[in-house]
């Protein structure tokens, strides 16, 4: 069989226009498939890294996915709050190493405001990283300091020193503004590719301060007081939305979860973020599968083009095959030649697809990161991608079996002397 690949290569080069179009078709479909695969994985990774390092999330009694959605992704509304006393008891449990409380309910131009403590910037992380880096400025210190995520800064054009007004509620068009107490941006977080990029972070005391003159979700018109006029205890939070919890040892996770879930004074839910994220991701599995099926169909269509390209040439190549047989090639060589062509064509299409993908990521990577917070960087195909590419290559070779078998049978029939 030696030299067959060389012959196949020379034959393909001789039909370069058709071959290039076929390879381009396959390359583009491979680009699509790998692109979707990369984005899918990056989306899943971004999803999972949103709560990296957090062992439990505790909130008022709710469905785990609902608690996850509002505490981590700032989606939806919390059903109830968690009393500050309860939070203090939780914090005091022996296996608990750290806690980060969050208080939600306000917004700024559609971006959720997160009332929290300085621990948030130390304990929260994404991926393998622990702690949030600051692109500009510093964490909040004064009562009316605010830290903003990268998306907020980029979209609204904010920088340290910008004055902002928070709005009551989470509606994009706010009807009630806390305009009596404007905040000053003091820090901008580096991009994380998570929901953190879309947050406005202030202290828990600040959340209490802006609601000093509010009752039952509505401002009270008379007897307005300012934070400076009230004792510090009045700025102590009475309740929070949820708390992120880190444990001394992960072996205590289920023990603490049980303690929280069975807490009698208040109905609570403690979730393992990884488990809840997996449940949530499973809900989106349909979309994921649809995308993959579409990309897979594109690859299949490209492989059919490849099959057609080879089949279409078989008639005009009968003399070529007979000539090969005249110089000693057997039907198995003819079979091998066609199979080698299919392998080379598919291989070239796969290589082109990978090159196109890496080129696209090299060019578009920074823009994707800046625009969508999606971290896609060029790099060699992962093992999973290599398996997919190997599968496509195998598929191309399997499809090549058909024209190879046709050529095999014809060469048996024609021998060395096709009708010349």
């Amino acid at each position: 069989m030696s030299g067959l690949v060389g012959l196949a290569w020379a034959s393909l080069k001789n039909r370069r226009a058709t071959v290039l179009l076929t390879v381009l078709t396959l390359g583009l479909s491979v680009l699509l498939l790998l692109g979707i695969e990369r984005v899918r994985h990056e989306a899943r990774d971004a999803f999972l890294r949103s709560v990296a390092g957090t062992d439990l999330i505790v909130g008022a009694r709710a469905h785990p996915v609902q608690l996850l959605l509002y505490s981590v992704f700032r989606l939806g509304e919390p059903t109830a709050n968690l009393q500050w006393d309860t939070y203090e008891k939780l914090k005091a449990l022996p296996p608990v190493a750290w806690t980060v409380p969050i208080s939600l309910g306000d917004s700024h131009r559609g971006y959720r405001v997160v009332g929290t403590t300085g621990e948030y910037f130390v304990r929260m992380g994404f991926g393998e990283k622990r702690g949030l880096a600051f692109r500009e400025g510093r964490p909040f210190e004064a009562l009316h300091d605010a830290v903003i995520g990268a998306d907020v800064a980029d979209t609204l054009g904010y920088a340290p020193g910008t004055s902002i007004v928070l709005a009551h509620g989470t509606a994009r068009v706010a009807t009630q503004a806390h305009d009596d107490q404007p905040f000053t941006v003091v820090g901008v977080l580096a991009r994380t590719g998570t929901a953190i990029d879309q947050g406005v972070f202030v202290s828990l005391e600040a959340i209490e301060a802006i609601h000093l003159n509010w009752r039952g979700g509505m401002p009270i018109g008379r007897a307005r007081v300012t934070p400076a006029e009230v004792p510090a205890e009045r700025l102590q939070p009475k309740s929070i939305t949820a708390a992120f919890v880190g444990l001394e040892s992960r072996t205590a996770t289920f023990q603490v979860q049980r303690v929280v879930n069975e807490y009698r004074a208040e109905p609570l839910t403690a979730i393992l973020p990884g488990v809840a994220l997996t449940q949530l991701w499973a809900l989106m599995g349909g979309v994921e599968r649809a995308l993959l099926v579409a990309a897979g169909a594109a690859v299949l269509a490209a492989l059919m083009v490849l099959l057609t390209t080879i089949l279409a040439t078989l008639n005009e190549r009968r003399r070529e095959m007979a000539l090969l047989r005249a110089v000693g090639a057997g039907p198995r060589h003819v079979f091998g030649l066609l199979l080698a062509e299919a392998a080379l064509l598919t291989g070239a299409g796969l290589a082109l697809g990978v090159v196109l993908l890496e080129g696209a990521l090299w060019v578009l990577g920074p823009w994707l990161e800046a625009r969508f917070g999606v971290f896609l960087s060029p790099g060699l195909p992962t093992i999973r991608e290599a398996v997919v590419l190997g599968g496509i290559w195998l598929g191309g070779i399997l499809l090549g079996l058909f024209p190879a078998a046709v050529a095999y049978l014809r060469s048996l029939q024609d021998g060395v002397a096709v009708d010349r």
């Binding site: 030696s2 030299g3 012959l7 020379a10 034959s11 080069k13 001789n14 003399r319 070529e320 000539l323 090969l324 047989r325 005249a326 110089v327 000693g328 090639a329 057997g330 039907p331 198995r332 060589h333 048996l412 024609d414 021998g415 060395v416 002397a417 010349r420």
Partner: protein, 238 residues
Amino acid sequence: MSEVLRIEGLRFAWPRSPWTLEVPALALEAGERVFLHGPSGTGKSTLLNLIAGTLLPQAGAVRVAGEDVAKRSGPARDRLRADHLGIVFQQFNLLPFLSMVDNVTLPCRFSKRRRERALQRFGSLDAAARHYLAALGLGEATQASRRVIELSVGQQQRVAAARALIGGPSLVLCDEPTSALDTRNRDQFIDLLFAECEAAGTALLFVSHDLTLASRFPRQQALGELTASAVESREVAA
């Protein structure tokens, strides 16, 4: 002299057809040059396929270099053809995607024996190809790098002859190789072919319907005279 081809009691028919070809006996010695002639449709191409082992007779035997073709397996027949036969057709002799040199060395991709013989004699396949091309009047470097589809028909036939001769096969089969050539090119082609066959000790079976060529060959044979019925007629006449 050793025998390179022997056909005995050969009978062949296509499915659901009467006998297409009957050859009671035909033999060629090493280095012999035989002109086999017959009108179109008398089974010349079929005989070629039978000698090449791509068709098998229903009766009788074809021996190439002492080997009974029909008794060998398919791959072994391919190997026998690669090792011992060089074939030149009337036209479409070359692979258009290969260079002249690559076309000439093509049999060496399939025959270890011919590759080794070419290497032994010329040192490299490239040198072997260039030797035959030069001997057949295609030696200029500019021609060697030309694409084969840019060659004239006469030049293409000479490249095909070089391919048939490389590695010293036992027998060269030519199937109407000069029918597309003018008289001058035809005579030149035959002269060069004879010279190279003689130099290599290769037997030549030249099949053509053009009887004007017959006188160039020491031995002529009409295909019709080979058939069983013709032999019987001659025996009756005698």
